[in-house]
């Protein structure tokens, strides 16, 4: 059987998730033995439009992105959204709340009119994706889990429970016990609780679990003294695409 041909494409993003792919240093040779990478501008010069699996990093923030994405969807047998920007729109969705014109002015000043833009959207708002690798950036383990699962023809094991699970498994002191707060109670695990383990707090960069108790999250954030605006900002940072961030 011929090796599957893999392409990486990016839309609006920092390309940090593709860098994470290159960070899979111990496994890179294994990946290259199993697949042919035919399109990956962060790592190789060659470009081919003939591929089986497409990884898409980035959010859709211009109408002109849409036909490009649709063409990739048509070519690829399997399309994977890579990272927060592709999965939920990520930080890019913040501009939808600020007002697009105001954002353009902040970024481009007088030249704002030169550039095309639209509301930021995740990949699956435009085309169907077959899988998502969440996170800002993606955890390398989850990328590898997905690649191995595709090669073995099985469903990848992607957590659908709160970050609290992994945080407790590491025996971290809960941020709520330190007088701080955290989005881990509704955020999708899979990062091994990176941020709370190294002095940060969870921003829910991996999106929300499929059955988050958003009402209770708003209640406990309120009890921590956050204003309604603060609470909405917490949800909007990475998860503006969900209804809970809208009212």
């Amino acid at each position: 059987m011929a090796k599957p041909r893999v392409a990486f494409h990016d839309f609006t993003s920092c390309e940090g998730c593709q860098l994470q792919v290159l960070n899979c240093e111990d496994e890179i040779l294994g990946i290259l033995a199993a697949v042919d990478i035919v399109n990956f501008r962060e790592a190789i010069d060659e470009k081919s439009e003939d591929y089986d699996i497409a990884f898409i990093e980035g959010a859709i923030t211009r109408d002109s992105d849409i036909p490009r994405l649709q063409e990739i969807r048509q070519r690829a047998k399997i399309l994977v959204a890579l990272g927060a920007c592709a999965c939920t729109g990520g930080l890019n969705v913040l501009k939808n709340f600020r007002g697009i014109e105001a954002s353009m002015k902040t970024v481009y000043g007088e030249a704002a009119g030169w550039y095309e833009t639209s509301a930021a959207r995740p990949i699956d708002a435009v085309v169907k994706d077959d899988a998502k690798v969440h996170g800002c950036p993606i955890p390398t383990e989850e990328f590898l889990e997905l690649v191995k699962s595709v090669l073995a023809g099985r469903t990848p094991q992607i957590p659908d429970y709160p970050v609290c699970v992994e945080c407790k498994l590491r025996e971290n002191v809960c941020l709520y016990h330190k007088g701080q707060y955290c989005m881990g109670v509704v955020a999708r695990a899979g990062c091994k609780a990176w941020c709370p383990s190294y002095g940060g707090r969870c921003y829910a960069c991996r999106g929300l679990i499929s059955d988050p108790n958003n009402k209770a999250a708003k209640e406990i954030l309120d009890e921590k003294g956050l204003t309604i605006q603060n609470v909405l900002d917490e949800f909007r940072l990475f998860n503006g695409v969900y209804d809970v961030a809208k009212e």
């Binding site: 496994e27 294994g30 990946i31 033995a33 199993a34 590898l144 690649v147 191995k148 699962s149 090669l151 073995a152 094991q157 659908d160 429970y161 709160p162 609290c164 699970v165 407790k168 498994l169 025996e171 971290n172 002191v173 809960c174 709520y176 016990h177 330190k178 881990g184 109670v185 509704v186 679990i209 499929s210 059955d211 988050p212 108790n213 009402k215 209770a216 999250a217 209640e219 406990i220």
Partner: protein, 347 residues
Amino acid sequence: MLPKVLSKDRFADFVARLLGGGRVFAPVAKGPQFAFAEIAGPDEVSRIRMDYDISILPPKKLFMPQRETLLTFKDKGPEGVRAEVKSQPTAILGVHPYDLHAIATLDAAFSKGARDAYYLAKRGATTLIGLNVKAPANENQFAADMNAIDPPAGGYDLFLTDLGDRYYVEISTGAGEALADDDMFTPAGAGDHKGKRAYDAAKAAHFTRKLPYDTRYLPELLDVSYDSLIWEAAARRCFSCGTCTNVCPTCYCFDVLDKLSMDAHSGTRERIWDSCQLEGFAVVAGGENFREERPSRLRHRMFRKGKYIFERTGRTGCVGCGRCITHCVAKISILEAFQQIADQVGA
């Protein structure tokens, strides 16, 4: 075996003696809280906090690690499968009575039916040095109600009680006897016995009972409360985050996952802690989830703690350590639930 006395001047020697026999785990500070951690050598004795109130995770993590490789496999067929039952001599120093009770419950659960080789190998290689505790760590503890403020008979090798300048050392096993066979231990005298009695009397006074009924009625009270609205009320704030079960010293549910190597035909089979509170816990083949709703999951945990584990193992499923209450971000309380069900009869 008669009790002995260990002078605190010799505590470092005692730890060194434990280190001579293998790995040593003891409570150490973790930020404002405590955790059982490995004491790598005699120079780390000062890290040990025998005055700790309670650890974040219970000692179960040392018999049933959060992640554990069960076997490795390669190619198809049984020839490529190798079980990875591993253990090394380990002493756990400073285990409070409620946690000793919990370990006894785990021992019973993992020995029943198909014996769990992974747990029992680690447990068998472990020396338990218990530590008496005079007062509850916080208002969430109700160990007296669960009959868990004194150590279980035979549930430790040595059991220490802090008498100020010395430890009163009770000995329960041959391993404990061998460990205490050294001149750092001296026979306990009348003053030592009296000191221990005074300690336990003070302890009984500090650990007040918080349930309005004797716990022998707990399973039946839960039975009649099965359809109570209290489960729904508590679950309103529940995040289904599994913290309560992860910090519980008697929760032992796990998931088993096959991790593939890049060649896609070799890999490892791993088990990780699972939780009945997670939405996917009770999903079966075909996609049916028989505990899909949060209240039914929350009730299931309370029933496991107050009824099912007892019925299954003959040992308590809850030792009243209060960890699940302390660490719940939503402040859901099993103690409150156990108090509320007293009024459910005929309601």
